[in-house]
Amino acid sequence: MRKVENNKAWLLVLPVFLLVAFSAIVPLMTVVNYSVQDIFDQNNAYFVGSEWYREILRDPRLHESLLRQFMFSFAVLAIEIPLGIGIALMMPTKGKMASVCLILVAIPLLIPWNVVGTIWQIFGRADIGLFGWSLTSLGMDYNYASNPIDAWATVLLMDVWHWTPLVALLCYSGLRAIPEAFYQAARIDRASKWAIFRHIQLPKLKNVLVIGVLLRFMDSFMIYTEPFVLTGGGPGNSTTFLSQTLTQMAIGQFDLGPAAAFSLIYFLIVLLVSWLFFTTINHMDKDK
């Protein structure tokens, strides 16, 4: 859409700017301030320069949780994006069934994250949960609380359960936007199912998929509550992701300086990835 140049529009944006500045810029400045000091209490803070950064950047806890985090986020994308597309293609398009289906699929998204953790905590237990019980009765030695691989699988399965609906609904709305005429033309050409998907549906899905990948990557990158409730980050540290490592440092041990340095490094990663996505989205809009 053509837009009119008008700097008075700033007046409309001002409330948002002030609100978000209050809850983003002020805290972020504080984090920067903390990150260069050794803080004991309000009146006892000593300037230590870049020491915390050196310490954190060489801290194996950061390296390990960063590695785990990336592995987790990529696994999440690799499973949820194709699965979401598939489900969107299977969802009914017309009638009452379509609404019912939509709502049922959306349910996991509406559950508080700690309850999602609780649901799977219960569901995966061998004594009282159906999932754990079934696996154990099939003769598998499954225990998410003591076996790191099981813990990983359960956290991953939980995330797939929890967030695939988001991808599916995004794709579903993308598919709904394709005019019926396209399909009719394809039918006249006797296009195969695959050809329809490849040349009609997938291009239309490109926009929503970028949003889907962005949201899923970012949200899985800050995952905290669900694994915290399910495994508590364990066994050992095997399911401790970035946010949890940070929270332990900040709230658990109250190491303000190192936690602040950690926060900024974390934030810089997020900033870079967001910028890459944002630039991609803008360029796709321009191509249109």
Binding site: L12, V31, M90, I107, Y224, L246, A250, S263
Partner: protein, 270 residues
């Protein structure tokens, strides 16, 4: 052949919905059992149906006030979010202005930023202005990710409304506030509904900030649920009942926006 294919589709989607519903059913199932029955052995439905667990929640103020607190700050958050995001989204969808792209990007980074990063300073910030353990503190903190998201979604919906409508209204002598309130907002009703739904949803499901910024007065239900871990182990029945009760508000809200929610998930961009 076409019938065969649509049958495969139906089987596929049914299996997926089962995958979604079974864990929830299990929670529901457990919420109607006594703890003895839960720990006594696995059963697919409650053999001795009991409402005991729900009774615990509805008679104990620390429990039901948790729901009240959560709903209160979520409601505040939805109102604040819509109030500030609507004009801003209009500006982004209609005008070019200095730094508009940068501003939009900066807003989005706040949606992407992990709440854990803001945890410490938030605690200090809200304590220093005397808002710690109030509902408004949590509502404001949740604005950090809800406002950018709302601007993003609303901008998408608003861009779908042709500019000519604005121009005609201005020619007809409408002032901006009158046009905005009388003509424009009713036109994007569904967008506003969906945005409110998303603001509700993300504020309702968040735990980390809500837990950190409250202690007693405004403690959300999610934080209270951790209380079920007692000296005698976990009170599974009550935990399950509390979990079931947290799902209900979401279901009620999504029912109202069911026809537009798909477009909303695409952030108004289809």
């Amino acid at each position: 052949m076409a019938i065969q294919k649509s049958r495969n589709k139906n089987i596929g989607i049914t299996l997926y919905i089962l995958f979604i519903l079974v864990p929830i059913y299990w929670l529901l199932n457990m919420s109607f059992k006594s703890n003895e029955e839960i720990l006594g052995g696995l059963s697919f439905w409650p053999t001795e149906f009991t409402l005991e667990n729900y009774a615990v929640i509805f008679t104990d103020p620390t429990w039901y006030m948790g729901y009240f607190n959560s709903i209160l700050y979520v409601g505040m958050n939805v109102i604040i979010t819509l109030a500030v995001a609507l004009p801003a989204a209009y500006a982004f969808s209609r005008y070019k202005f200095l730094g508009d792209k940068q501003m939009f990007f900066w807003l989005l980074t706040n949606r992407m930023a992990p709440p854990a990063v803001f945890l410490l300073p938030f605690f200090q910030l809200y304590s220093s202005v005397g808002l710690f353990d109030t509902h408004i503190a949590v509502a404001l903190a949740h604005c950090l990710f809800n406002v950018p998201l709302a601007v993003w979604i609303l901008e998408g919906f608003m861009s779908g409304v042709p500019r000519e409508i604005d121009e005609t209204a201005y020619i007809d002598g409408y002032s901006f506030p009158r046009f905005f309130g009388r003509i424009f907002l009713p036109m994007i009703r569904s967008g506003i509904g969906v945005t409110a739904f998303f603001a509700f949803m993300f504020s309702w499901v968040e735990l980390l900030l809500a837990r950190t910024l409250t202690s007693v007065e405004a403690k959300p239900i999610a934080a209270i649920m951790t209380r079920t871990v007692g000296a005698a182990g976990i009170d599974w029945g009550v935990l399950a009942a509390a979990g079931v009760l947290t799902i209900i508000p979401g279901l009620l809200v999504i029912w109202f926006v069911r026809n537009h929610v798909a477009k909303g998930f695409a952030l108004g961009r289809v």
